[in-house]
């Protein structure tokens, strides 16, 4: 098992490395010039060239890429922001906890809401509970999260005055962002739970359990749930990536100084080092979460655990 984890961690580094190259290349070839945006029309060509030289933007692609990778992977420095002229690593580290908190809370909300609903929908297949949950799931998936966020603001801030509409502070500042960001995940997770349960309910080993005289409630808890939730774990992992990426929009709506907002501003000003830094941090977070998901798998399913041990032993 330890061997497997080490192997996977090495793989994570490879993923982050590749993501770095891809994001660097994309940003390099995307139109738009940070110097033009920063200095505006008033600056002279000489001033702009001097700025380009200072930031190393006059170097050829490969040399820029090389120095970027060297800085990130050898010096562990994400660089200096063009706009704020401040080191990005420190900025990211102060912002990252907020984004991570929103992401994790979203997943928790998703799980708490959608798994019980999905289970109920499957158990009451074809009845009104099932239909209501289907409509609910569809609504969750189809409503755009920024629109839902604005509706929340209108209701809870403008009309009811319960929650602050923007900024950071206590927990109450995070309630609406988390709700808005969790929305899309609920629908997918609910449907996945439902179909997982339906598959398991028809399985032969459920009949075996019933034939043993196991009461129906125990059949559901002990025999159905863990089997049905295995495919759901994968979906949760995928949702985490989406939940963290989704903060780019939600943090903008609620003016939360997280990584998402930082990145979006950076995109607008072509602040390359910030965008790259953000992508690297998100890629690292996502790959670690994926590793955790796979480890949870191993805990739940002995077949997968055996596979991991077998693979690592090879």
């Amino acid at each position: 098992m330890a061997k497997y984890i080490i192997k996977r961690l090495i793989l994570c580094i490879v993923v982050i490395f590749c993501a770095s190259i891809v994001i660097f290349t994309i940003m390099y070839f995307v139109p738009g010039d940070p110097v033009e945006i920063m200095m505006g029309a008033n600056a002279t060509i000489a001033e702009k060239d001097a700025m380009r030289h200072e930031w190393g933007l006059d170097q050829p692609y490969l040399i820029q890429l090389g120095s970027f990778l060297y800085n990130v992977f050898i010096n562990h420095e994400l660089g200096i922001s063009y706009t704020y002229n401040a080191p990005i690593t420190t900025e990211m580290m102060s912002r990252f906890p907020r984004t991570l908190f929103i992401g994790i809370s979203c997943i928790i909300v998703d799980v708490i809401l959608s798994i019980p609903l999905g289970i109920q929908a499957a158990l009451k297949q074809g009845k009104w509970q099932d239909r209501v949950s289907t409509i609910f799931a569809m609504a969750c998936v189809s409503v755009p999260d920024f629109w839902f966020a604005l509706m929340l603001v209108i209701l809870f801030s403008q009309i009811l005055h319960w929650l602050p509409s923007y900024g950071i502070g206590g927990l109450q500042y995070y309630i609406m962002p988390i709700m808005a960001n969790a929305l899309a995940g609920i629908g997918g997770l609910l449907r996945q739970t439902r179909s997982g349960m339906l598959d398991v309910m028809k399985a032969d080993y459920i009949t075996t359990a019933r034939a043993k005289g196991v009461p129906e409630k125990t059949v559901i808890h002990k025999h159905m749930l863990n089997n049905a939730l295995i495919p759901v774990i994968t979906v949760i992992g995928g949702h985490f990536g989406r939940a963290v990426a989704g903060t780019v929009i939600i943090e903008q709506v609620f003016s939360i100084p997280g990584i998402g907002q930082y990145m979006l501003n950076a995109v607008n000003t072509r602040d390359y080092p910030v965008i790259r830094g953000g992508v690297i941090i998100l890629a690292a977070t996502t790959s670690v979460v994926m590793l955790l998901v796979d480890l949870v798998y191993a805990v739940v399913d002995p077949r997968i655990k055996a596979q991991y041990i077998g693979k690592a032993g090879q």
Binding site: Y205, G213, R303
Partner: protein, 327 residues
Amino acid sequence: MESKFLQVRDLQIEYTSGKQVIHAVNGVSFDLERGKTLGMVGETGAGKTSIAKSIIGVLPNPPARITGGEILLDGKNLLEASEEEMLKIRGNQISMIFQDPMTALNPLMTIGDQIAEAIELHSENAGKHAAKEQAIKILKMVGITEERYEEFPYQFSGGMKQRVVIAIALSCNPELLLADEPTTALDVTIQAQVLDMMNDLRRRLNSAMILITHDLGVVAEMCDDVAVVYAGEIIEKGTKEDIFDHPTHPYTNGLFGSLPMMAVGEKRLHPINGMMPDPTNLPKGCKFSPRCPYATDDCRTGQIVLDEITPGHFCRCIRNSKEAHNV
């Protein structure tokens, strides 16, 4: 009237699929004494598994529905028993061995826990520890060593899994064992081992057994009585000797005709022509008449009853009952 151990009376089961109603079991009656084995033979889809599942009460409802009849165990009608009563009977008085060992075990539970679960539910002094000890004992009985108690189903071969399934079924010394094609999914070499083991254990516990199979060789080996099921009806039943030495119904004859007879040295087998009738639209009269070489107009219209042709040997065929009366 002295009540027999198991009496099934006029059992009727329907499946609903969309708007169609499938008549899976149409008035099946049979008796079984303690310690005896009844072989239930018939083609796939004849309703054998539905009969067994209805006895132990695990028919999936919906789509299945028991529409009539009664199942008496020691005189008590199981179809009217409450769910709590059935929970005590299931796995305890009656237990079932399933057809496909590959899917009959929970993949996420150790095999030991799966055996101990039934014991814990049904034994009087239900402690976890006592249940585990009993489960280990049963495991050894089916020829699996104690070290494998903590292993998971994926670590077992098909034959070994079927041993575990049998161990679960036998763990609470059932009075009635329902074996639904217990060896169909197994290699021929393993089949014999598993059958021998089942028979041996069943004798030791003096359990009655209903053995569902389409393998007449297995019936010859294991059973006291035989019931031939076709399209949800018993078309012939009697002792093993009755059925094997004097098969009377054309379908039973057809079943034997489709077996290779080594002694006679025939070059070709004789299959039964045609297919089982569509269970949503069963023929009137004799259900076998569309495939029967001897069918007459009487067969196609009249209600054919199960006639006793010799004591204890019943056959649902007007031709044979006439012959029997003429003799």
